[in-house]
Point group: D2
Chain length 367, copies 4
Amino acid sequence: MGSSFGQLFRISTFGESHGGGVGVIVDGCPPRLCLDLAAIQAELDRRKPGQSKITTPRKEADQVEILSGLLDGVTLGTPIAMVVRNKDQRPQDYKEMEVAFRPSHADATYQAKYGIQAPSGGGRASARETIGRVAAGAIAKQLLAQTHGTEILAWVRRIHNLEAVIPTDLPTLEMVEANIVRCPDAAMAVQMIERIEAIGRDGDSCGGVIECVVRRPPVGIGMPVFDKLEADLAKAVMSLPATKGFEIGSGFAGTQLLGSEHNDAFLATGDGSLHTATNNSGGIQGGISNGEPIVIRVAFKPTATIRKEQQTINARGEATTLAAKGRHDPCVLPRAVPMVEAMVALVLADHWLRQRGQCGSAANSGN
Amino acid sequence: MGSSFGQLFRISTFGESHGGGVGVIVDGCPPRLCLDLAAIQAELDRRKPGQSKITTPRKEADQVEILSGLLDGVTLGTPIAMVVRNKDQRPQDYKEMEVAFRPSHADATYQAKYGIQAPSGGGRASARETIGRVAAGAIAKQLLAQTHGTEILAWVRRIHNLEAVIPTDLPTLEMVEANIVRCPDAAMAVQMIERIEAIGRDGDSCGGVIECVVRRPPVGIGMPVFDKLEADLAKAVMSLPATKGFEIGSGFAGTQLLGSEHNDAFLATGDGSLHTATNNSGGIQGGISNGEPIVIRVAFKPTATIRKEQQTINARGEATTLAAKGRHDPCVLPRAVPMVEAMVALVLADHWLRQRGQCGSAANSGN
Amino acid sequence: MGSSFGQLFRISTFGESHGGGVGVIVDGCPPRLCLDLAAIQAELDRRKPGQSKITTPRKEADQVEILSGLLDGVTLGTPIAMVVRNKDQRPQDYKEMEVAFRPSHADATYQAKYGIQAPSGGGRASARETIGRVAAGAIAKQLLAQTHGTEILAWVRRIHNLEAVIPTDLPTLEMVEANIVRCPDAAMAVQMIERIEAIGRDGDSCGGVIECVVRRPPVGIGMPVFDKLEADLAKAVMSLPATKGFEIGSGFAGTQLLGSEHNDAFLATGDGSLHTATNNSGGIQGGISNGEPIVIRVAFKPTATIRKEQQTINARGEATTLAAKGRHDPCVLPRAVPMVEAMVALVLADHWLRQRGQCGSAANSGN
Amino acid sequence: MGSSFGQLFRISTFGESHGGGVGVIVDGCPPRLCLDLAAIQAELDRRKPGQSKITTPRKEADQVEILSGLLDGVTLGTPIAMVVRNKDQRPQDYKEMEVAFRPSHADATYQAKYGIQAPSGGGRASARETIGRVAAGAIAKQLLAQTHGTEILAWVRRIHNLEAVIPTDLPTLEMVEANIVRCPDAAMAVQMIERIEAIGRDGDSCGGVIECVVRRPPVGIGMPVFDKLEADLAKAVMSLPATKGFEIGSGFAGTQLLGSEHNDAFLATGDGSLHTATNNSGGIQGGISNGEPIVIRVAFKPTATIRKEQQTINARGEATTLAAKGRHDPCVLPRAVPMVEAMVALVLADHWLRQRGQCGSAANSGN
């Protein structure tokens, strides 16, 4: 319950932060897809802890093993199971958190829900849970790239109050990966890194905004009513740890425009495809993709676990204080970039298969 | 595909804007619930067109008929089917839209997806589609109120650039329903109404932000990982027509705080329940409700269909212009208030049943 | 919960035997399918009560109204809602059943499950519930016929101990519809009709076996593991009222053969398609269709509601007797023939769309 | 797609016969359940190959590793992942099957469906796929036993034409496990074992019937309409490899009775519970359990892979012959006994949670 995502391209994840391992089953992947296995590991490497001075110093190799579903790197159409073993466990670091609920973390609510919880590390609420998402998303990315030439690219747009305002057609993967904060504005990236380091030294944490663009998405995907493409994208990224907000296209700012300013005029293309003069819609109209780039933004709160002393209660409901001793990210955003891309890829892959299932390859859908 | 929502408390809607009727099946409602049928109709009346001078002048009674699932107003546990007949049809108003795709509406994408579409009125993309949601949500509201004393209340927080900043514990249903724009700040409501009228007279439209609070929600509901409570809330409201953004708790603004500022300190309650000094979390931590009020905000874009002339293309891809002649809302927000409440109610009802299914009535979950 | 069926071609039914009406929503039907609406009504007419001297004398027109999803008889790809109003209500006939649980009917278990039940007629356990299935199945049949030339044909193979052993490639729709018991063996049909009449005169009831063949099914549909095609067929028909058993291909009898006798040898076809010398597999191997006719058989028990006096208890648990006064079928099989066909059609349509979604139109799948 | 089962107690399996391993994720298991881990392994040992002289001589330890979801053997409410590594691989044994489709096996249909397949061993169609089912079913069994005292017991009723007719209230686990064919009739078991050995020596195979009883099931579980308890049981066991038929209660034989003979009279119990004089219903009425033992029977065909030479085609569609060289079971039934129990347990656990979710703990449902 709650650990599966998608209808046709469907993933199911498992694993706590400190158990035997974490992983994912991808069910419904089309057969005969040639997978680049190194590219899957590369996405996990973008996500893993210890990758730079602004992430948690915990070192985990996060080496993925694929147990099923492939024949010489080609998909069989059967479930693809991927596992990453847990290695660097220091449960003693979390000892005091066993007795004190970390403010704004999941300790207290897991206890309220289940009446039991993993003794350390956040259990399923750990960022480690996202390994399965990223590994599965890497397959979805390859599926979309091979069938539609789709590119899914996210980056850090804001850290604390430092914002990089960049046209969404500009960033490349190289620009994003050129610095450890994953902001394609190199000058702003330097400031962001300094800010994260300074806040981390204080034992505090900060948040920000990640932006994501989908170039050359499948056209005509997304369902009317409940499974609108933007609705499933919202759910997908709002299921990531630490998210507090979601926007598509013009977002909250767009609500200050008039209809005549906000509407995206259709331009004649001559070939039957759709093209708009502006893209306030963010590539989706009526819940269905129109072929323009899909543009979303996601708000991430500051990391809940900090070294500064905080007021809280223990499991018996008594007042106490807590100053976390574990090794934590002062800012989750650099590592969250591949998570956002993965969730977006999973939504698009699933909706493309659903569209192909119901409507086949209609000439006018471009699929 | 795409017209069902929820896992245990599950609704399926049907109906185009101008067909025989619209409606909904509610499957999984607990048995032996005494329904207030007048309250269901009252919610539909809050949603219906023609209710005030700032909504579309189209008059539709939207009288609901319940076909099944009840015995003398008491639920049987079997599917509850509700139908509203279509009445006030003027397809000729939409004639020109048959040949020209309305900018930022669903005409073009439906055509790209299906290769066919309803000749008029927007089909499933019409706001009329939300009737089923509101009727089903009215049942979910009663279920939550009777079992948990839960209150779900939404209101208009901003219209265009006119914002009413109100503490979320203040508004009452009476305050919200005291004016036609559904803003609990009476003075600001007057300005908002004037603004909508002025923009409407210009043949233009505007958007804004709706805020929603859930008081006394079930504790411990929501699932780790993909079906986090905020993720399902995000999907629920982002599936409403014209939405562009979603926030929970501190939202986008909260990303500018430090962790030490943002974390919600737990206070000793003496009775084992959870209570926090602040509520930046918006009532949800780790995807699970902690008992504090759930607070969300939803961005609605300006209505796409406007009387002002716009650049567009026709179904053959040729450039043309369009000035809509139909009777349209210059601003969807007043009528969207009950829609937001309905979607929130559906998510909570479903997650409460899912929690009861998996975990029963654990002493410490307050359920 | 429990009133929906299918993943991509998904139906949701509603309605009690004696409420305002019964119906179904079909979601996920491909767009641009030209529907023969008269054929939908014709299937309902094959199912309706009062059609002959061996069915219940209750007269119900069962006239279907389609509320949505069509444009001039062509599917829009959006939900198709169909409703049949209830007409011929005589709740007084069921009065005594309110106080006495009918043996082997659903009265007692509904009460145990829900703590409440419809006062008369069996509620959702009524055969009237199958109207939605038959209407939806009629659409699935047309989809399969138009895309694959698929024919789905069921008939009565046995009534009580009167069995018509007919090669499954022989019966035609005309032969089945040539008599009121729907047995393609005309001579045996006469005996069956006499038997049903005799048993009915005694206030008793009888059961039997329905056989169903699918000619020219889509090839390569069905999923490994849980959603094997025969597993979903089994669920589909075992969800019909009064069913007690299911067989595919050689069935129970085949378990008495040796492997060398039971295996279906593959024959060289020259065109890459599959063809087997025998069809003990019943058209499905490893859960996936091989293109041979799919052959199943379904056991129906004798109707539970009989006029003969029976031992039972009332709702207070006290011993009592019951002799039903309502108008009931002495044998459900003649009317169950279109129900079986409908359920088979729904499974095949759904699995074909699922196959197209995951695998597209692979050259070697024949789709 | 197709590798998940259940709604609330939901399992997802993965793994081919000869890849890195096979396994399962169990999602939705209630928290705070104390698991007997040795009992899980014991069920796998009942299923594993090489356990006796009448099963395949392939030796596989089938040692299960639990990767997540537990704390000191107590369930956390989060996904429980279990993996069994593949060990005894001899792909060369399957070489010739790469070029020749095994008659009545899944080779040809997998190729038709996916256009690719695992090179050896049957891929997902291997009996090895059932490891995940049995491991997950062992947890479901413990859940039902601890909450309801439910016992689920299956046994071999018939091998080839040797049938043990035993009252279903008689067999115990000890009687079933007392011999290697798992037939509680000791005398008949001796004959069955001799028959299997003789047929195996001939390079041939045989099938039979497994019977399963559920004692003290939860009352009131199962859903009206599509998710009737018997429908989900039918799907569950018909998804096992080699199954050809399913019966509940009186089954096919019951269709030869009159209603007055077949109906199960209710007896006054004095305590509000249900009890019937006979149990032709097999413990389920109207799709809902009535508390009587649930009784089903499942037909298993003779193993498809035999050493005798058979007519077939190769992947190019040319006629050829095949005499399998691998090590195969001459009869799958002894090892299928725990598989049937597992599938039944999974259905009941899922439906009990669904019932608790929708209806809570109604006094009169006995839950």
